[in-house]
Amino acid sequence: MHDFFLPVGPQHPALIEPVHMKLRVEGETVVSLEGLELGYNHKGIEKALENRSWTKSVFLSERVCGICGNFHTSAFTQGVERLMGIEIPDRAKHIRVIVSELERIHSHLLCLGLVAHEMGLDTLFHYIFRDREIAMDLLEMLSGNRVHFSMNTIGGVRRDLDTENIRKVEEGLEKLEDRLYHYVKVFEKDSSVKRRTKGIGILSEKMATEMDTVGPCARASKVNYDIRNEGYLTYKNLKFKPVIGERGDVMERNVVRFKECIQSVKLIRDSLFSIPKGDIALKLPMMIKIGEGLETMSRVEAPRGELAYYVKSAGDRPYRVKIRTPTYANFHMLGHILKGYQIADIPVIVASMDPCMSCTDRVTLVNTKGKETVLGKEDFHKLNGGHHHD
């Protein structure tokens, strides 16, 4: 049977976000992933961050992603706070954990709903999205926003929660937990789901380590890699233990995500139980100043895996912010988990990786043919409008 190229994306009904995959296909079997083009969604946020004050940068960094925006501000503010050498109040830490974990639930449910949609089981897709609304409503109640919560600020959080909020969150979690346990059963036992996910897109432990896979994809392949292990914010006190899977196929990745949601429910409950009284933010000057040239690396565990921010200061604004998103790290293993499976499995495998293009497209290369240019420090200064001389 002759082979041909199957273009997937940048416009494709299964992958709603723009990414182009060039697959070599023989009949119905995928031979290899020949090309992967990112960058359709480049927004220039890293550059734009260099022209804003520290406080304004927080709001821009949230706009990197619409699903995990709160994690971006968590990582960024954590980095800035480390540069300033300040420790945020305990109550703020608790609120950050609560919002993060609620966001993790809605992000995971989005991914799992899409996996169900990709395997043609629209009923399950609609049910999961209906239950995702519980988490969305709780987040709207806590932050006032449905999507970009704007909860984090340098030195703490921007909104407090009262006893009424706590009661409602607990009620919502009760409902959510029931449904989550139900879905774990569906994804583990239902024959229609099992037929499409079991033994598909297997990522071995060795491959996962070699390809620097992060997040639920790595944990489903027995790799114990979770930044929450390091105990930032209050995770140390919450006695956090990551969910680890065994087989590394699509089914395992789904089940790991559901179990992480259940774990998040428990983490939120514990946080609500142990939340201390006190301030929600430190009182900081309007214009924050940080010593020039100070730099730091700040990491948090976003829903899709390790999210890393490199922040270097230029006094009243960032000199450079580099964002390494989890999806970017996970793309390295995509070619390996697609190889040898059917065309029908492509959307399910890609969705089980939970790619987020909006996060990933940080760098765009225009016309890479021809001469190669190397930019030095001085060139960057020029590009930066000649603002900084050090």
């Binding site: 299964a14 043609g120 009923t123």
Partner: protein, 292 residues
């Protein structure tokens, strides 16, 4: 002469087929939506889609054969419609002669085949994958479908007439499974899997040509349900026919909402190794005369 024309053009022919085809498709979409906990489109949405598509232009890409793209959906539609003329819908049949069951079987294959040919003619990689899948699906479905049709056919001398197949549960079951497949509803919506191959054979279709495809699909829903209601549930009058066809429609919807998509190999395995042999049991029973 006039009554024959009326039969061909109004009932059970052209006009009623279009109206009921679209209506049943509308009901299918609406009830599915409710089962998904969505609101869904109004029942008359397929009519609106058809009218709107008819008013748009045809786009013929560089690699495609416009002629085949125009005629493939029309032939699909015509074959689905012709089947209706042989069915005694509501007790009176218009065209009926001994052995017309085979014409029905052939016509139904034609409808699927021209759907695939229409896909090949577009020269799109997604369409050609979809068309190959459609051909494989025809091979997979025809086995249980034809066996179950012959089982009831033997009982009525291969002429299409009302028959209630309560003695033959396996034949009934395999007929229902193959209806799901012929209408490419879940779990057999492999050739039009939007997440995998965009719209399959329909990827390059637009305007009136797509409208004709929609029409063929709507009439196909009506035809298959009518066949089930008459040939397997034995509707002899209009009331029975209405009850049977709506019950069948509901069954289609329930199956459609609870199953995900199969892979092409899984579909072949299911239809050839499980559903087909079950139908053979009933065929053997008819041939050996072991039934009540």
């Amino acid at each position: 002469m006039i009554s024959e024309l009326l039969h061909a053009l109004v009932f059970p022919g052209l006009v009623s087929a279009i109206i009921f085809g679209f209506l049943y498709e509308g009901i299918l979409r609406k009830v599915t939506a409710h089962m998904h906990s969505r609101i869904g489109p109004p029942v008359w949405q397929p009519f609106l889609d058809f009218v709107k598509l008819m008013s748009k232009e045809n786009i013929t890409t560089k690699d495609s054969f416009g002629m085949i793209m125009t005629f493939a959906p029309i032939i699909s539609f015509a074959s689905a419609l012709t089947v209706l003329l042989f069915l005694p819908v509501g007790g009176f049949s218009f065209l009926s002669f001994g052995g017309d069951l085979f014409i029905v079987i052939y016509m139904l294959i034609m409808a699927g085949l021209f759907f695939a040919i229409g896909g090949f003619a577009t020269g799109n990689p997604f369409a050609s994958v979809g068309s190959v899948r459609e051909i494989i699906q025809i091979f997979a479905i025809e086995f249980p479908f034809v066996i179950s049709m012959i089982t009831v056919g033997l009982m009525m001398n291969f002429s299409v007439s009302p028959f209630f197949a309560w003695q033959f549960p396996f034949a009934l079951f395999s007929f229902l499974v193959s209806v799901q497949g012929k209408l490419s509803l879940p779990p057999f919506h492999i050739q039009e899997a939007e997440q995998e191959i965009v719209a399959g054979p329909l990827t390059e279709y637009s305007g009136p040509r797509l409208a004709m495809h929609e029409l063929a699909k709507g009439v196909m829903v009506w035809t298959m349900i009518s066949m089930g209601a008459v040939l397997f549930l034995g509707a002899t009058n209009l009331l029975m026919f209405a009850v049977n066809s709506l019950a069948l429609l509901f069954l289609l919807i329930v199956v459609r909402t609870i199953f995900g998509r199969l892979r092409i190999k899984q579909s072949l395995r299911l239809l050839w190794y499980v559903v087909g042999p079950l139908a053979l049991i009933d065929l053997a029973r008819v041939l050996l005369g072991i039934y009540i």
